[in-house]
């Protein structure tokens, strides 16, 4: 029995070890290729030069970096109030029967393929932008709107969970002291759910940062820093997708470099998330 046990333990260990090795190999491969080119071109020049002309050996990702940040930020700004408002409504004001029906439906929406959102962006949103704002309709604003619709379900469901986990005793105590519903929400519930809502925000931002296909379809892919919200632009992800097929040598490494920058941005988000959760975990028991 003991022999069998240790055999199984080593077997499991072997498999986990290999899967972890595979995953770390990928990380190291991407980091190696990317960091190699970043240092070859120079960190400052890579990040802050505005010339992206890979066939002339110019690798400056500033336009793509700025576009990525603008599009993501705008998407989050658009969807945060609406998403949070919906979560608050579903948890605090709505009839519980209605919210038990609506919540799963919204969660399901988080699984819709991104190409469908891109489709809506091309068919509907670009026409609206062209009509009311001008330009071609394929622009930063379009991408931001598409992304905000994409991350809404995620924001709603995770914030909703966070709000639901606030112990009802807090709210009861607040009502007992004569506070109104909104005062309770504003002063008690929201601060108590703060870490969960931040989690939702960070996960949604991560999703928006990493979205490729939907953005590729609606953002126009020009290589310069967008001057206005209706200018076409290129994000880090759409830039990689566009040139991936034919990039060789330094150009290919530069695409990995874009990947490394994305990686770094997402790592910052994950680190922040971990710090927040670590603070919360000190009060959490698992039975």
């Amino acid at each position: 029995m003991n022999f069998k046990e240790s055999w199984i333990k080593s077997f499991l260990g072997g498999i986990s070890f290999s899967s972890l090795i595979i995953l770390s190999l990928i990380t190291f491969f991407i980091l190696k290729e990317g960091i190699q080119i970043i240092f070859k071109v120079g960190v400052a020049k890579f990040i802050f030069s505005a010339e992206w002309a890979p066939l002339e050996n110019k690798f400056g990702i500033l336009p793509m970096l700025i576009s990525t940040c603008i599009v993501t930020l705008l998407a989050v700004l658009l969807s945060l109030p609406i998403g949070l408002g919906t979560a608050i409504f579903l948890n605090e004001f709505a009839n519980p029967k209605i919210s038990t029906v609506i919540k799963p439906i919204i969660e399901l929406l988080a699984a819709i393929p991104s190409v469908i959102y891109g489709f809506i962006g091309i068919q509907i949103i670009s026409n609206l932008i062209r009509k009311y704002f001008g330009g071609s309709g394929l622009c930063v604003l379009n991408a931001a709107i598409v992304l905000s619709i994409m991350i809404l379900p995620m924001l709603v469901s995770i914030s909703s969970d966070a709000l639901r986990n606030v112990p009802y005793q807090y709210k009861e105590a607040s009502y007992a002291m004569g506070a109104t519903k909104w005062q309770t929400i504003y002063h008690i519930t929201l601060p108590a759910a703060r870490s969960g809502i931040l989690t939702a925000l960070i996960l949604a931002t991560g999703r928006a940062l990493g979205e490729t296909m939907a953005v590729l379809m609606v953002i126009g892919n020009s290589t310069q820093i967008p001057k206005t919200l209706i200018s076409p632009a290129r994000t880090l992800t759409s830039g990689i997708a566009l040139e991936l097929g034919y990039a060789i040598g330094d150009h290919r490494r530069a695409l990995f470099g874009c990947g490394v920058v994305l990686f770094a941005l997402i790592m910052c988000l994950t680190l922040t998330l971990n710090l927040i959760l670590r603070r919360k975990e000190k009060t959490k028991y698992l039975f």
């Binding site: 026409n127 001008g134 330009g135 071609s136 394929l138 892919n221 566009l242 034919y246 060789i248």
Partner: protein, 275 residues
């Protein structure tokens, strides 16, 4: 609590394992498979040729991918694909006649297209060049409505794009705030949806959704391309390594077909055949 569900899961897993294994056992790389990759302009025509060819040779499997002419060349050079389909004016210098077999299989013009509602019928080459470098930014400067021109171009992996830049722009710089798309079809679709757009696509891919303009008063059609009057044109090549050509009879037969019977098909689809 769990036994009945677990039995079902076990059976399902067994079934999936066996079917997957059978599927994968079929998996030594089939000898009768080869990949053609490259030009998005020629891709629909290549698919048509492959469809007709495999009807008479049902055991041959031809894998056609797009991505752009440069993608095709890179894939062929790194041996990920056997044949590169390329639409360029001049082939890159790595493709030498010593190591590679190059077959010219068709020619076609590159039509400059605008939205059907655009009143412009004719542009000079200079005007097209100035639009694409950004010197002309409004349609009224060329006789159209007072609207900002939305310029649609191709990214660097495209043969059509490179040919267009070589012929029209020569050494001038493309404006940086173009909308860059990654295939002929996408350019056509963008121009179709945007009233103030201008773009360029393979002549064989023209349809009623977009309007081609005359260049220096020459209309982009097959006769004008053949005679050379419409000079924004390039050639479609199949490029492959010499040993792939010599050691693979399937590839030889397919290229034979394309160069003979296939030419009639290409001609009926609107391209300019080599003969």
């Amino acid at each position: 609590m769990k036994p009945p569900a677990k039995n079902k899961t076990k059976i399902l897993l067994l079934f999936l394992t066996t079917s997957a294994t059978i599927f994968l056992l079929n998996c030594g790389k089939p000898k009768k498979l080869f990949t053609i990759i490259g030009s998005t302009a020629f891709q629909p025509f290549c698919e048509k040729l492959a469809d007709i060819y495999t009807k008479s040779h049902p055991d041959v499997r031809i894998n056609i991918q797009g991505g752009g002419s440069i993608v095709g060349i890179q894939a062929m050079l790194s041996n990920a694909a056997e044949i590169a389909m390329v639409d360029l004016v001049t082939l890159p210098k790595e493709v030498t006649t010593e190591e590679f077999k190059i077959f010219h299989i068709a020619s076609d013009g590159i039509a400059v297209i605008v939205h059907p509602s655009n009143p412009i019928e004719n542009l000079t080459l200079e005007e097209v060049k100035k639009i694409y470098t950004g010197e002309i930014t409004n349609w009224k400067e060329v006789g159209g409505a007072n609207k900002e021109i939305v310029v649609v171009s191709r990214e660097k992996g495209s043969g059509t794009g490179k040919s267009f830049e070589d012929i029209v722009l020569q050494c001038a710089n493309l404006r940086k705030d173009c909308i860059f798309q990654d295939s002929n079809g996408t350019v056509r679709e963008t121009v179709k949806n945007t009233p103030q757009a201008i773009g360029y696509i393979f002549m064989g891919l023209l349809n009623n959704d977009v309007k081609p303009v005359r260049i220096n008063n020459i209309f982009p059609n097959v006769e004008n391309v053949k005679s050379g009057k419409y000079f924004i044109q390039n050639k479609v090549y199949f490029v492959l390594r010499k040993n792939n050509y010599e050691n693979n009879p399937l590839i030889r037969e397919f290229i034979e077909y394309v160069l003979n019977d296939g030419q009639k098909v290409l001609e009926s689809e609107g391209l300019v055949p080599v003969k």
